[in-house]
């Protein structure tokens, strides 16, 4: 049996969030009071998170988990990816929507079904730090669904952001509205013979998202996954650390996505 991985949060604010997740993984992780001595560090994805993650690597972390990563300097994210590769450190992103465990569990199926659709719509509701962060959330979900997005337009009102583009041969349009009436992201992928309706919760709980496929045989719901984004991210981190083969390509994609949003 492997020893548990010691883990700490970078700030007291994140400590409670980490404690809730660790309670579900008592054999795999051990809470550490001091981030400087823990092998894994949980970082909040606000502000200059990439710089803070790089600093954690410099102080000895073998794994960094970034919660709800938002807009930051893309160059800093690329530098983090380079540094992590160089040091053999795992950097895992715990993304509110793109990291949804139900979505990730069914990702291969969803990508296959998406190939038969021609339009993808996203409607997102919830508080967001900036319009760019909301746009990034939508772009990241498409990235998680294997769609290489070409964003061409962003429009804003005081409380909304609308993103338009294409994903290969598909049309894409997303609308995010700042509101305290819940947190959710609805994805509709429309095709003549197939419709996908994915309702991602984004509230951090283990309540499963609702993924539905409709075709000529009718509508069916994909099996549920009662797991939180954070727990799934910690488990991926553990696997990567134990395999000793960190893969930080996701960070480079994240930097690309930020740069795309920033360019508009």
């Amino acid at each position: 049996m492997s020893l548990p991985l010691s883990i700490a949060a970078e700030s007291p604010l994140l400590q409670q969030r980490l404690a809730k997740t660790l309670a579900t993984l008592p054999q795999s992780f051990r809470a550490e009071g001091d981030a400087a001595t823990a092998k894994a560090v949980l970082i909040a994805g606000s502000g200059d998170w990439a710089t803070r993650a790089a600093l954690a690597i410099e102080t000895g972390a073998r794994a960094v988990i970034v919660t709800d990563p938002g807009i930051t300097e893309p160059d800093a994210v690329l530098a983090l990816a380079d540094r992590a590769d160089e040091a053999g450190v795992v950097v895992e992103l715990a993304e509110r929507y793109a990291g949804d465990p139900t979505l990730l569990r069914h990702r291969p199926d969803l990508i296959q079904h998406l190939a038969a659709t021609s339009t993808i719509l996203i409607s997102q509701v919830g508080d967001f730090a900036t319009p760019a962060d909301a746009a990034l959330d939508m772009v990241r979900t498409l990235r998680a669904l294997g769609q290489t997005l070409h964003v061409t337009h962003i429009w804003q009102t005081t409380h909304c952001v609308v993103v338009r583009g294409t994903a290969a041969d598909k049309l894409f349009e997303g609308i995010a509205t700042a509101s305290s009436a819940g947190t959710s992201q609805q994805i509709e992928a429309l095709g003549f013979g197939r419709t996908l309706r994915l309702s991602l919760r984004g509230d951090g709980s283990a309540r499963p998202s609702d993924l539905r496929l409709a075709n000529a045989k009718g509508e069916r719901r994909l099996p549920q996954v009662f797991e939180s984004v954070d727990r799934a991210a910690l488990l991926r981190t553990l696997t990567a650390v134990r395999n000793g083969r960190p893969e930080n390509e996701a960070l480079r994609q994240f930097a690309d996505d930020i740069a795309t949003i920033r360019s508009l």
Partner: protein, 356 residues
């Protein structure tokens, strides 16, 4: 029982809308209405539909309008005939006109209809069934100032082809051939025609509801307008700082998704409508607030078709002042149509602009 004789209904047009929507709906309201006459330029079709409804038939509008047993005229013909037929019915002294959506094909025609209604005193009810949906009506009574606080409004209509639900609503006689052809090279005129057809044919169902949440609808700005294949639209814009997204498409499988979403700073409203044609009950409205509490309105066992005909009856028999279930007045009908035409015009100009 209403205690009065049912009103006789004459149908201008005997196609699927008459057969699959209105005749089955009137069967829900035998005390209020009876089919009296079916008119269609296709005399055989008129005769066949009339026979099954127990009504007379004709291929002449004038003959139908001269029929004293016809109290109310339902305009169920192609939209380019709506204005002439509706105005003729009002001038003929009928008691009310139910005009299928869209009210008309142009703004001038719509103005002529409302002017004729004003001059003759004959009420016009537009068959936008969601306006009359019991859940929407009940919701409106509880919304308070929510419409003035909307931040985004999103209409999403994703439906199977009509024949699926027509066949559940009735046994359709003489269904017109679908005239599908892929357009050739896109030209500005062709794009205008396509968006005109899409907005007046599909988006029109919910645009009056969308307008409810857009106090500054006359300032509508369209950011993006794209066609969806094989048939549909995807439009984004804003009015008065509120983002609007309109999506509509028809597909080849059987599932119907018909939603209107409105988000404020502290509430999220979703209204999920039942498909056209079938009597599948009302919409369901779900209003979620910032505490996570959800208030649900509906489903009710009746749909907007039944309620729009009840509105016709109230309009004929005399609505009580302040009646929450009264049909929209002429000014509202005119504004609704102006909004529809504005969306179609601005969306097509945006799409044309993207050609170059």
């Amino acid at each position: 029982m209403s205690g009065t004789k049912p009103l006789g209904v004459g149908f201008a047009g005997a196609g699927p809308v008459t057969q699959a929507i209105h005749l089955p709906t009137l069967a829900h309201l035998p005390d209020l209405f009876t089919p009296a006459c079916v008119m269609d330029v296709n005399a055989d079709l008129a005769a066949s539909v009339a026979a099954s409804a127990g009504a007379r038939h004709t291929n002449s509008l004038e003959t139908m309008l001269a029929d004293p047993s016809v109290d109310v005229v339902a305009i169920c013909s192609p939209q380019q005939f709506h204005a002439d037929q509706a105005i003729a019915a009002m001038r003929a002294g009928k008691k009310a006109v139910l005009c299928e959506k869209p009210l008309a094909n142009t703004a001038d025609e719509a103005r002529a209809i409302t002017q004729a209604s004003l001059e003759t005193g004959v009420p016009v009810i537009v068959g936008t069934m969601h306006v009359f949906d019991p859940a929407w009506r009940a919701l409106q009574e509880t919304l308070g100032d929510l419409p003035t606080r909307a931040r985004s409004i999103r209409s999403s209509i994703v439906l199977p082809m009509n024949d699926r639900f027509e066949n559940w609503a009735t046994e359709v006689t003489g269904r017109p051939e679908a005239a599908w052809s892929m357009p050739g090279q896109m030209t500005p005129d062709l794009i205008r025609q396509i968006f005109h057809g899409l907005i007046l044919g599909l988006a029109v169902h919910d645009l009056p509801l969308v307008r409810t949440f857009l106090p500054d609808w006359r300032d509508l700005e369209i950011w993006s307008a794209r066609q969806l294949q094989p048939f549909g639209y995807l439009i984004a814009g804003q009015a008065g700082g509120r983002a609007v997204q309109l999506a509509g498409t028809m597909h080849g499988h059987g599932e119907a998704y018909w939603d209107l979403d409105v988000v404020t700073d502290v509430e999220a409203l979703r209204i999920r409508f039942t498909p056209s044609y079938v009597h599948g009950g009302s919409a369901v409205a779900m209003l979620t607030d910032a505490t996570g509490a959800v208030r649900q309105i509906g489903p009710f066992d009746r749909n907007g078709y039944v309620e729009e005909w009840r509105a016709v009856h109230r309009a004929v028999r005399g609505a009580v002042h302040g009646d929450a279930h009264a049909p929209p007045d002429l000014a509202t009908i005119a504004d609704d149509f102006d909004f529809v035409m504005d969306v179609a015009a601005k969306a097509s100009e945006q799409a044309i602009g993207e050609l170059s």
